[in-house]
Symmetry: C2
Subunit: 346 residues, 2 copies
C-alpha cells in the first residue's frame, strides 16, 4: 500500500500551482560528494574593514552614520535603478524584452557586526520589523513601483558577501515571476471560497499539528506540505492581511518573537549559524486591491545532512522538476524538538 | 535612450513563458563573497575505489563488467522506482499528493576514469549518443513511463559525487514541471504557425549570428536570448525532430562533434574542467503525438567571474525572479572567440 513516508510521490504547491517530487527512501544513499568549508565565525562587534559597520566608509564614499538600531540605505550596486529609460524589443514574439526600473535598498539589522537575527535581542528585531514597515510604505508611494521584495541572504553559501547582519529590498516596476504565480493561485481560491487560501491552509495545519514548528498568538511557523528545500519553512500570519504595513504593534512584537525562535531552532539543528535565503511575500502595490493576498514569509535553507553537506538543486531539478529527499514531515519533526534557546547560550 | 547593453530589463523565455531579469551594469560590483575551492583534477585512468570503473564492485555488490564503451545500469539509489504503489491524498485541494514511479539509470561515458566529454575521442562520444538513443527507445517501451530525462551533473559544485565521466537518466510516470511548460509554449506556437517554435527561433538567430557559439551541418549551439545562468547555452537540432531516437547516423556524429566543441570552449573559458548541469529536452512518451516538440539540449553552468566565483541564484532569484548580471550577448561574444581545441593539448 502507498505510504508517503516510504514511497516516491509528487506534491502540489498550492501557492504556485507547481508540483514537487519527494523521494523519501533516497536519504539512505551514502554521500561522497562536495563538503562545504565552514566559514569562520568569530566576528568582532566592530570590523574596521566592513562597509556596513557604523562610521565606516562605503564604496561610493558615503560614511555610515553612528547608527544604533536597524539602518537602511540605497544599495551602491543596485540591480534595479530608478532612472532606467523605457524601451525593449519584440521580434515576432521570439526575441522579447522590456526595460525594468526600480530601487534597491540595504537594511543593516544591527550596528553590531557579530550578531545575526537568532542572537539579537527581541526589542532590536522589533526595530527591524518597524523599518520593514516604513520602507514598504515609503517605496509604495512611488507609483512606478509594482512590487517590493524584502529578503535576506544569510551565510556565504547563500551568496552573502558580507557577514554583517543585513537584508535587502528590491522594489521593481513589474510584478516578479513567483508573485505572479502566487497572485493567480490565491485569487482563484479567494474568488471561489471568499476566504484566503492561506487561512484555509492554516486551519488544516493547526488541526493536524504534524508540520507546525513554532506558534504564537499571531503567527505560525511550519514546514509547508510542498516544501522543496530540506528544512524549508514558512511563517504565516494568523490574521489575513495583505502587507507588513497592516501589522499592529502587538503583531510586530509577535513577528520578532517567532523570527527569533525559528532562526534559533535553525542554528540549533547543526550547531552552526544556519544559512538560508528568506523573505516576505505580500500583495503587489499600485496595482488595485488584492483582497486575496495573505502575507507570509519563506525560508529556503540549503543544508541537508550536516553543517557542511547541502542539497544540490541541479540536473534533474533544473531541467525537469524540483526534488527533495527527506519528507516535509521528517523535517518538521526534527525542527519541533529543537530548543528555541540558542546553542551558544544553552 | 534604452540600451539593453547598459539598462536593466526583463526578457521572455519563449520555451517556458517565464521572464528573467537582466542587470548588465551590475558586473561592476566588487566580489568579497564565497570563493569555491578548485577540486583536484589529476585523476588516474583507473581508480580502484571508484564504483563506476570497469571491474569494480558497486554498493549493491554488483561487479561492473570490463566495459570498453559507454555503459549503462540501473541506479543503486534511484529516486524513482518501478514498483511504487498507486496512491496519494487530496484534502480539500490544500494537501494534494500523488504517487510517482519510474526508473533511474546511470550512464558511464567511458571506462577511462580520467576523461570528460571535451577530452574524449569523437568516436567514443558517438557511442554515448547511440546509447542515449537505445535507452530512450527501451525505456519508452514501458507504457507507465511518460517522460525520459537524460542529463549530466558535471563537477562537484553541481552535486556530482563521483568524478568518473557519467550521466543519468530519470524516467518518470508523469511529465515533470519544466517539460509541461515547454510543451504548452511549443504547442501554442505550432498550432498557430504550423512550424516549430525552435525552428522559427533558429531562423532569427542564424540570421543575426550575435548569440551563435558554434554550428555544424545539423546542430547549432547558442546562448539563448533569455539565458539566466551566466554562460548558459542550448544545442538545437536544425531538423525538427521530437526525440533523440530520430537522429540519423550522420546526425549522431554531428551531435558528438558539437558536444565536444561546446564543452571544449567551456573548459577553455577559465582553463578548468568547467562544471555544468546539462541535458536534453524532448517529447513526452506514451502520451499521443507531439508534433510541436523540437529536440534540444540545455547547459546550465554556475561559474560567473572565474574558475572559483559562481553566480548565486539566491534570495531575489528564489523568492521573486531569476536574475543575471552579464548580458547573453556578452557571454556569447566571449564563448565565440574561444578555441574548440582543449587547453590541455593546445
Ligand atoms: O544522484 P546523484 O548524482 O548522487 O545526485 C545529484 O543529482 C541529483 C539529480 O539532479 C540531485 O537530486 C542530487 O541532489 C545531486 O547530488
Ligand atoms: O547583492 P548581493 O548581496 O551582493 O548579491 C547576492 O544577492 C543577490 C540577490 O539575491 C544575487 O543576485 C547575487 O547573486 C548574490 O550574490
Amino acid at each position: 500500500m502507498f505510504n508517503s513516508k516510504e514511497h516516491s510521490h509528487t506534491r502540489l504547491n498550492i501557492l504556485t500551482g507547481d508540483w514537487i517530487l519527494v523521494s523519501p527512501h533516497r536519504m539512505k544513499r551514502p554521500w561522497q560528494g562536495k563538503v562545504e568549508a565552514l566559514p569562520a565565525d568569530n566576528r568582532p562587534a566592530y570590523d574596521p574593514t566592513c562597509y556596513l559597520c557604523p562610521g565606516n566608509k562605503r564604496s561610493d564614499g558615503t560614511v555610515n552614520p553612528a547608527y544604533t538600531d536597524a539602518y537602511v540605505f540605497t544599495n551602491d550596486f543596485s540591480a534595479l535603478l530608478p532612472d532606467t529609460p523605457d524601451g525593449g524589443e519584440n521580434e515576432n514574439g521570439l526575441l522579447v524584452s522590456s526595460s525594468e526600473s526600480g530601487i534597491c535598498r540595504v537594511i543593516c539589522f544591527s550596528p553590531d557586526h557579530s550578531l545575526t537575527l537568532p542572537v539579537m535581542q527581541e526589542e532590536a528585531i522589533v526595530k527591524v520589523v518597524q523599518l520593514w514597515k516604513k520602507e514598504f510604505n515609503d517605496l509604495s508611494q512611488n507609483e512606478h513601483i509594482k512590487y517590493i521584495q524584502i529578503f535576506e541572504n544569510k551565510g556565504e553559501i547563500m551568496g552573502c558577501s558580507n557577514p554583517h547582519p543585513h537584508g535587502q529590498i528590491w522594489a521593481s516596476s513589474s510584478v516578479p515571476l513567483e508573485l505572479t504565480k502566487e497572485t493567480t493561485q490565491q485569487k482563484n481560491y479567494f474568488e471561489k471560497n471568499d476566504k484566503s487560501l492561506l487561512s484555509a491552509y492554516l486551519d488544516v495545519e493547526l488541526q493536524k499539528k504534524e508540520r507546525i514548528v513554532v506558534e504564537n498568538e499571531h503567527f505560525v511557523a511550519l514546514v509547508p506540505y510542498w516544501a522543496v528545500w530540506p528544512y524549508e519553512t514558512m511563517i504565516i500570519s494568523k490574521r489575513h492581511v495583505q502587507t507588513v504595513t497592516q501589522f499592529t504593534a502587538e503583531e510586530e512584537i509577535a513577528l520578532a518573537q517567532i523570527l527569533k525562535q525559528l532562526t534559533c531552532k535553525y542554528d540549533n539543528l547543526f550547531n552552526v549559524s544556519f544559512p538560508y535565503s528568506g523573505g516576505m511575500h505580500q500583495a503587489p502595490v499600485n496595482d488595485g486591491a488584492h483582497p486575496e493576498w495573505h502575507w507570509h514569509m519563506h525560508f529556503y535553507p540549503p543544508l541537508l545532512r550536516s553543517a557542511t553537506v547541502k542539497k544540490f538543486m541541479v540536473g534533474y531539478e533544473m531541467l525537469a522538476n524540483p526534488q527533495r529527499d527527506i519528507t516535509p514531515e521528517m523535517a518538521a519533526a526534527t525542527l519541533q524538538q529543537l530548543s528555541t534557546v540558542h546553542y551558544s547560550i544553552q
